[in-house]
Symmetry: C2
Subunit: 187 residues, 2 copies
DNA sequence: ATACGCATGTAATCTGTTACATGATTGG
DNA sequence: CCAATCATGTAACAGATTACATGCGTAT
C-alpha cells in the first residue's frame, strides 16, 4: 500500500508522464521503492479515477502520445495523511541469507561465487550513492528539504556499507570452510 | 520464488507439520523470510503434488489432525540446485525512507514520533538477536553448519545495528528542524 | 517505406494478505 | 456439555512480475 504514495511524492516533486516516472523510479525513488512501468501506469489510472491526480491540461489524447499528470489538493492531503500515520517496518525478505541457511544443510556449492558477485554489486551501488552525495549535497547547505533528502541518501550509504562489510566477512568465513578453494561441494 | 525453498530448508532441518513450520517461521527463519500459515499450507500442498516432500508415514488423514512432512530426495536436489544458482539481490522497499522523502514535500508531521517508535522496535530486535547469539553461539565452536548459521545471525545483528544507528542520526537531525519540538507541522 | 525508439497500455500469472470456516482435543 | 486452543484449510482480494500489443514520430 505504498506505491500510490511513492507516485504522489514523485508527482508533487515534479509533474511527469508515466515513462518519465519510470525513469525517475529507476534512478532515485526506486533506490528505496522500486516499481516497473506496468505498475506505474496501472496506478496512475487508479489515482486519476480517485481524483487524487489529473492530466496536465493542454493535451493530446491518443495512445502513443505523452500524457503528464499533476497532483490535486486531495492527493496532497492523502499523501500528508499517509506520511503522518504510524507504520510498522515490513519484515525482511532476503534471498542470500536464506541461501546461506539452506547451504548449511545441502552444501555451499556455488554460493561463494555469488557472494563475491554480490559484494561487487553492493560496492558499485555504494560508489554511486557517494557520487550523488558529493554532487547533490556539498557541505554547508541546509534547507529542511535538503536535510531530509540527505538523510534518506545516508540510509542508502549506510545500508550498502553494512552489506559490503558483511559480505567481506562472509567471504573470509567461507575461505576457512573445508573444501572451499575452487568453490563447490555437496555433502 | 523463494518460499518453497525456505520451507524445504526448514523441513530438511527437521520434519514438521504446517503449524510447527509456522511457529519456526515466527521464531527463526522468518527473521529473513517471513510467511503466514496460509502461505505455508498452500505451499506444502504444491510441494507434495510436485513430489518434493511427502507426508510422514503412520498418519491420521482428517482435517484438524496433525500432518507432518519430510523432504524427499527430489526436494533435496531442488534445494541444492536453487542454493547454488546465482540470484540478484531483490530491490529494497522501505516505507520509512519513502515517508521521509514524502515528508520533504508535505511536511514532517507525525514522522518524528514514528522514528522514535521504530528505534525502539529495532533496539528490541537487536537485543533479541544478541541473546540468541549468546545462547546458541558461545565462543569456540566451529562446525561448518554452525559457522554458516552464525553468519546469518551476524547479518541480522549488523542490520539492526545499522538501523538503530541511522534512526538515532535521523532523530538528531529532526531535533534541529524548524518547528519539531512537539512533533507536528504541515507546510 | 521501413525500421527503430518512445510511450502507453492489456493480459495472464504468481505471490502475499486478510478474513473466515471447520474439525479435533483438552480442561473445566 | 462447553469453551478454549490446536490444527488445517478455503476464498477473495491486493500487489507484483512477465510477456506481449499497439500507436506515434523520426531518421534512413
Amino acid at each position: 500500500m505504498s506505491l500510490p504514495h511513492a507516485i504522489l511524492t514523485a508527482l508533487v516533486e515534479k509533474p511527469s508522464s508515466g515513462l518519465e516516472l519510470t525513469r525517475r523510479f529507476d534512478r532515485s525513488i526506486g533506490y528505496f521503492w522500486s516499481a516497473t512501468h506496468q505498475q506505474i501506469y496501472r496506478e496512475l489510472g487508479k489515482l486519476e479515477t480517485e481524483g487524487l491526480i489529473r492530466e496536465l491540461p493542454g493535451r493530446q489524447p491518443a495512445r502513443g502520445q505523452k500524457k503528464s499528470y499533476e497532483v490535486l489538493p486531495a492527493g496532497r492531503e492523502e499523501l500528508a495523511r499517509w506520511t503522518a500515520a504510524p507504520q510498522d517496518p515490513r519484515p525482511l525478505r532476503d534471498t542470500m541469507l536464506l541461501r546461506l541457511r539452506a547451504a548449511a544443510v545441502v552444501g555451499t556449492a556455488g554460493v561463494g561465487d555469488d557472494l563475491r558477485r554480490h559484494l561487487d554489486l553492493h560496492e558499485r551501488q555504494l560508489a554511486e550513492y557517494r557520487e550523488i552525495e558529493e554532487r547533490d549535497f556539498p557541505p554547508g547547505r541546509d534547507g529542511a528539504e535538503d536535510r531530509l533528502r540527505h538523510l534518506v541518501l545516508r540510509a542508502g550509504i549506510d545500508l550498502e556499507t553494512f552489506w559490503t562489510g558483511w559480505l567481506r566477512h562472509a567471504l573470509a568465513e567461507f575461505a576457512e570452510l573445508p573444501g572451499e578453494g575452487a568453490g563447490a561441494q555437496n555433502r
